[in-house]
């Protein structure tokens, strides 16, 4: 059973204001997550804005320094003591997918430049191998290399561009892909294309995902484990189906009750007059 993700006592405190009077915001409050499995998994981290789920993602991606505590992904220490060097081995193990695909690529560079760079710089492939790897990754997300070559961000729809971003993350065959709200900028009716893609990549390509979202329905649909966060603390963690069908923590229940589903109405309809 490989340890996919383990955080112990992970804290992050933001100090606001000058030296005289400072207000503390506890973005991460003693987070302890332990995910062990021999098969690739999708772990969802759900919570509302300000719950700390994005800070957790950024900490694991080493974009934010934690105040204390440690975190490891497979055998890479990504936070706290003994952090492995921020080099090719870390980039090979952990890759991100960002929320807004239009912000994830520079407006002045063709989109496929990032794919080729990842292939050569991170995966360490030479020119020819890189082209194959890029084409293969694009095929895995249902795109053809020719549709992407030399094009700029404004020549894609949100959904297409996000798939290119996923393809880029696949190239170095990372142990864990951390997706921070990957579908919130995509049209509701086309989100499932990306969500189903995650499931397919888990099953066929053997990639594990950390899926950060405020949309519990998509979390229920694809994840194996769910972590519920509120105001910086981890309130509940466990197998997705179990947590969602009979939540233990009151906040999880409140969250589940508040979702406007199309199954049961909050208010029974008075007998319709017209």
């Amino acid at each position: 059973m490989a340890v996919i993700l383990k955080t112990t006592g992970l804290n992050k405190v933001y100090r606001l204001g000058s030296f005289t009077r400072s207000r503390e915001i506890r973005a991460l409050n003693d987070i302890n997550i332990h995910v062990e499995s021999d098969r690739p998994v999708i772990v969802s981290v759900v919570g509302e804005s300000g719950s700390g789920k994005t800070t957790l993602a950024k900490t694991l991606l080493r974009l934010v320094e934690p105040s204390s505590g440690t975190a490891t992904i497979y055998d890479n220490v990504v936070a706290g003591k003994g952090v492995t060097k921020l080099g090719r081995d870390f980039l090979g193990a952990v890759q991100p997918i960002f929320q807004n695909p239009f912000e994830a690529f520079s407006r002045y560079r063709p989109v496929d430049a990032y794919l080729h760079e990842t292939a050569t710089r991170v995966a360490g492939l030479d020119k020819a191998q890189a082209n194959d790897a890029v084409a293969e990754a694009l095929a895995a997300v249902g795109l053809d290399a020719v549709d992407v070559r030399g094009k700029y961000t404004n020549q894609f729809s949100g959904g297409e561009l996000q798939r290119v971003s996923i393809a880029r993350a696949l190239i170095p065959k990372p142990n864990l892909i951390i997706a921070d709200e990957p579908v919130s900028m995509i049209d509701a009716s086309r989100r499932m294309i990306i969500i189903n893609l995650f499931r397919k990549l888990k099953e066929e390509a053997g990639r594990s995902f950390l899926y950060i979202t405020h949309d519990l329905a998509t979390a229920y649909y694809i994840s194996d484990f769910v972590a519920v966060m509120s105001k910086g603390t981890l309130v509940e963690f466990g197998p997705a189906k179990e947590v969602m069908s009979n939540p233990q923590h009151s906040y999880t229940r409140l969250l589940l009750d508040s979702i406007p589903t199309t199954r049961t109405r909050w208010r029974p309809r008075a007998a319709k007059a017209a």
């Binding site: 009716s189 229920y220 508040s258 589903t261 199309t262 208010r267 319709k272």
Partner: protein, 323 residues
């Protein structure tokens, strides 16, 4: 009764002009909550601007007319031309980006009375408002606070208070809860439903979230590529959708506790810059035939009080009944 007669909203830009709303005919009964749904770019927000009378260049009401069916203080019937005089009096608007729709450097109270629709005796109005917002779950001193001192949920309540204080006949809410967390969203939606019940007026609610529509609306309008494709009572639209697009829209949403496979609608709406003919959903529709591509389906009443713009809507209705 609000009646739309084949309204067309046109955008004229340097690259030419497109019809963001392309011929919508509709009768909206009084006292209902009409949900307007559809993918982004389908024209739902443009329709709202049209009905509200916020027609400024580059957008224009190219053809068709709107009859509002209510009058202003002096008994004059309201039409598209004089609608502006009754803004925030007989008709009001709740904007989408409510988070920053309040003037950041002016106190909330002042923003309640700085528009012509409100009563000139500002002190009296403010006293009434102070008492009114209590009913909406806002403390009285909210009026003396500045917008940045309020939470997102409270600011949205202020917007709703502003829009409902003069109990208008028609309220237009454009994605009122999009920027809010799901817990706060529920309170706001319930508040809107209560207010509508008390005032008995009509609310037009635009949202991209079908779940919100299911919970809140009594009637539903589905739009696709600037056309109205389905219109009817919410219950029947959700239970037995007549248009394939509505059906796919509803079935594409994952629901907790329901493990059926869901897949998004492939492809993309057609570009309004091309000249389109036939059914605009044909390219993405599993039931599309040659007839769909050639002849544009009209919005027809296939079942009592339930319209759909699809040549095969009738068969779908019978098949649904049979199942």
């Amino acid at each position: 009764m609000i009646r739309l007669n084949n309204v067309v909203a046109r955008y004229t830009t340097v690259r030419g002009s497109i019809n963001a709303v392309d011929g919508v005919t509709l009768e909206i009964p009084d006292g209902c909550i009409l949900g307007v749904a559809g993918e982004s770019g389908c024209g739902k927000s443009t329709l709202m601007k049209l009905i509200y009378g916020d027609v400024t260049s580059p957008m224009s009401l190219a053809s068709g007319s709107i009859e509002y069916g209510f009058a202003d203080g002096k008994g004059r019937a309201i039409t598209s031309d004089n609608i502006r005089d009754v803004w925030f009096n007989r008709i009001s608007y709740i904007p989408q980006s409510s988070m920053n729709s309040l003037n950041p450097v002016v106190k909330i109270g002042k923003q309640f009375v700085d528009f012509p629709g409100s009563d000139p005796d500002k002190k009296r109005v403010l006293a009434q408002v102070r008492e009114y917002i209590g009913k909406l779950g806002l403390p009285a001193e909210t009026l003396d606070a500045y917008p940045h001192q309020l939470s997102g949920g409270m600011r949205q309540r202020v917007m709703i208070a502003m829009a409902t204080f003069f109990s208008p006949d028609l309220i237009l809410a454009d994605e009122p809860t999009t920027a809010l967390d799901v817990v706060v969203q529920k309170d706001i939606l319930l508040l809107l439903m209560d207010l509508q019940e008390q005032m008995g007026n009509t609310i037009l609610l635009v949202s991209h979230d079908m779940g919100v529509h299911y919970q809140v609306t009594t009637r539903m309008l589905i739009m696709y590529a600037a056309k109205a494709v389905e219109y009817g009572d919410s219950e029947s639209v959700f239970q037995a959708p007549l248009h394939p697009y509505t059906r796919m829209l509803i079935s594409s949403l994952p629901t907790i506790g329901d493990d059926r496979a869901r897949d998004g609608i492939p492809g993309r709406p057609p570009s309004l810059w091309q000249d389109l003919h036939g059914c605009r959903f044909a390219d993405r529709c599993p039931l599309a035939t040659a007839r769909c591509r050639a002849e544009e389906p009209m919005l027809v009443e296939h079942k009592p009080g339930h319209w759909a713009a699809c040549h095969y809507a009738g068969e779908l209705a019978d098949r649904a009944e049979a199942a």
